[in-house]
Symmetry: C2
Subunit: 597 residues, 2 copies
Amino acid sequence: MPTLREVPAEAVIASHRLLLRSGMIRKLGNGLFTYLPLGLRSFRKVEAIIREEMNASGALEFKPSVVVPGEIWRESGRWETMGAGMLRVVNRVDQELVVSPTAEEAFTALLRSEISSYKQLPINVYQINTKYRDEVRPRYGLMRAREFTMKDAYSFHTDDASLDETYQEMGRAYRRIFRRCGLSVIPVRADSGAMGGTGSEEFMVESEIGDNNLILCPSCGYAANDEKAGCAPDPLTSGPGSAPATVPYAEIATPAVRTIDELCAFLKTTSKAFIKTLIYRAINCELDISGAPGAASLKRVQPESAAPYYPEAFFAVCIRGDLDVNEVKLAAALKASEVELASDSDVERITGAPVGFAGPVGLSSVPVVADLSVMAMHDSVTGALKADAHFEHVEPLRDFTPFLSADVRTVVAGDKCASCGATYYAKKGNELGHIFKLGYKYTRSMGMNYLDENGKQQTPTMGCYGIGVDRTLASIIEENHDDDGIQWPMSVAPFQVCIVPIKYEGAMKEAADSLYNELSAKGVEVLLDDRDERPGVKFKDMDLIGIPLRVVVGDKNLPNVEVKKRGEKDASLMPQAEAAKALVTMVSEALAALRAV
Amino acid sequence: MPTLREVPAEAVIASHRLLLRSGMIRKLGNGLFTYLPLGLRSFRKVEAIIREEMNASGALEFKPSVVVPGEIWRESGRWETMGAGMLRVVNRVDQELVVSPTAEEAFTALLRSEISSYKQLPINVYQINTKYRDEVRPRYGLMRAREFTMKDAYSFHTDDASLDETYQEMGRAYRRIFRRCGLSVIPVRADSGAMGGTGSEEFMVESEIGDNNLILCPSCGYAANDEKAGCAPDPLTSGPGSAPATVPYAEIATPAVRTIDELCAFLKTTSKAFIKTLIYRAINCELDISGAPGAASLKRVQPESAAPYYPEAFFAVCIRGDLDVNEVKLAAALKASEVELASDSDVERITGAPVGFAGPVGLSSVPVVADLSVMAMHDSVTGALKADAHFEHVEPLRDFTPFLSADVRTVVAGDKCASCGATYYAKKGNELGHIFKLGYKYTRSMGMNYLDENGKQQTPTMGCYGIGVDRTLASIIEENHDDDGIQWPMSVAPFQVCIVPIKYEGAMKEAADSLYNELSAKGVEVLLDDRDERPGVKFKDMDLIGIPLRVVVGDKNLPNVEVKKRGEKDASLMPQAEAAKALVTMVSEALAALRAV
């Protein structure tokens, strides 16, 4: 328990700082940590809570090796797509190995040999095991380390209804797990990203250093990652652009005006009156644009057993001038693996004008995608596809017809809730857990099959469910600490009670030992501070390491002892004879409270 | 629990075969395995026993990362010496990483930052964690896998007495651990190999596929690896060579006779009458041979803070003709990191004769090392340092004087015990655990220091203590199985009791459920076989997975049930109402028996 008064400057968040200061972890290398005994006790408790709830949900624990053959990653196709974050080694007999970053491949490979009949399905299997991701810039201690421990579960099903049942059950188990850990999580519908599934929920905790922007509704509880969040349409009800144009669109000269701001100044109006047009390049786009402008000249690939796609396609994306395009939502709308802003030369080739004068009116080289905001606009201004010129009085559907209109805007605090219309607020969040309907991605690519009731070969559908154990531990500290140190919830504290004799000698030693023995016999986890230190040092350390209940045994008070909760200021004096019973009650009440809804 | 009737041909030993057949493990890759739920339960129990006994001995559990910086291996010098068995990776930001094969470096690096005073010593720290060694030819299932779990402990001390105390305590803890696992281990004094320590004990289990040759005394209990075993001298008491020569040694012509067998045939005598002379090349030899023949021309290196050594030196090693030189013992006697037979051209250069005619008489180019067997010989035959010639009537100390006489013979079954003179027998063994006094090797090379009572900087001495968890699990099965399957000791069985209803319906279901609930409530680990299978299939599976106690619930016998121990043939009929109590007693008695000495 090597507690520290000072910590390295690199520890900028509370959990990192307090884990170091309380002697619970130490850095072994960049993004690599050692748990020390106290930290390991809490770590194992988080693990145990996760294991209990997973087992209670009917999931079965496995333990695959951490190092796995590269071969199975080649089978799934992820050898190519996982990128440099996956640690690969070629061993001395030229076998490709991977230090597992995740285990879809390992479990699919294992279960395809074991599952042969629909009678064996559904099945939900999991591990709590070491993982490695080669973060370029590991930081924030356990929050973004390279090596970490993860609970990852994988379920296999004959149909979507069965998958959904397990998916829902996992969602409930996750809520129980985080509640028992004393964590307030925000379950949010997450973007499915490149995984291509149809259901996905992330369990977030609020964090100033979070990777995710969360959009939250104070009224109905809607919560979403901004990569996925939608919002209620907000047509302009007054001012410029709020009423349909009564005259045809017309060109206006806008010399040396290229940005929205310059245009606002030039036309003395607001950005809400403009249709902003951005040219995007989409990679591996599966959207069928065969009838769209410019599509005839695009290369379209037809793989043997998957949807045809355009390796590269360009789009003009229109959005109200005050809003931003969300590229994840745009990629989803275009069924593309990725989108990026087109290069200046592509923009010039496509629009026939310098950058800054794109617009949908008269654009025939690429399909136009209009954000829903555009469809509600009137009498607006757009680029005129030539230098130093814009159009005014533009009306959507009168002056241009988009190939696709879709919700591609970045939702921000202040936008209106898609469900109830209340005003959103935003938070930054870190993902602790993720439940996700994978579908057939791995079972198909890795050839997992079973025989159905009719003896016909079928491919199972699959779900995956992950929780970062170390990150959960760190988040518990983020949410439960004060200036003096950690305030562990009872369920995950390294010890439930600490006994601090003012001096460990004479009657105080006797009382402390007797209380220690009595509590231990009753199953309470007790830490007895028998160090030869000043009381102040011991109190400070016990506050720092965050033991929920403290008993001070002092000559002055005996036969009474002082019992204090970690978060509270005042201690209660009680006879030593009653203290054990009172503490047992306090421990079990605290544990019960964490289990209650 | 996917049990199998047949297993892959590659599973040649019982534990590998039964772990696969009982559905406890599956192969994921070469030397890489997945534990399935039943196997994982037993694995965790072995882990828990180890953890309990380590904690009871006062050791503190840590958890360093599995992937560690290559930097600390460079500091200790083992980056160079660990060879290709250590899995190394350079990650995407050019950092050298190691997938830990062992953790002397990690713990020394950790503790050198935490230990500053003699008051913090001794300390014994351990982990139970994933390891990887890149076996070229992994086999025998869990017995020689690439990835495995190991308990490894490291202790740090101010002096040898303190180190010895922890070393002895670890020895006792290891005996308790293996006893609780139901294992008969053979504690043997092991060769310290290149680690250079002064105390070392290996805990072996007998195994037909063992890596180690064990020499055992039936009378006094002496047990040693043959790389270290000594034996009582055995002078010849009759026949050729048993009496001192009365005449000077003399050359005899031995045309085309090169091997001992040819010489025996030619001279019509036994190999015991010959002094066999082998030329050895020693690498990094620390023995001071500055006065010995041929040493003047050798290069000797004097490092800054270590003993001087000869990077390369040659020796003539003499041994009685029927015996073999043990190269590990020879290397230890020569204080060399390694020895190997010299090349033919070196032999010819050194002896001045073709291969097959080496001998100690008149040899002046290299030092002569005589095994103790040679010093007890008389009137013997040796090579004459020229082609087709030998000497007869050779007397040690009359006709040649060795530079060094030492015990370098390979002890075999039939030799006499060094301690008591009884006749040795031999066994093959696998190492499950090793306790070892490392001394200053890592603390010096990695610069770990503390301040002693006088404020003077000192280097701690160190011990290390390992147990292979998977290998222990496999060895339990090797020792506890029959033709039908595994026979788990109660302490490590995946479940303690199985309940097999003949059919899981009606009164049988009721009785089985009630017994299950009653036993579970009493803390017994019960497996209820509720499958819709024929009774014979269920019985076979339960025998295969080796649950120690079986309760059969059949219509015929109700309200009586049948209780049977896994190893026994006959079941007892008892009233269902009494069964739970009887089973609880049987479980606790079995556990107590494993804890008893």
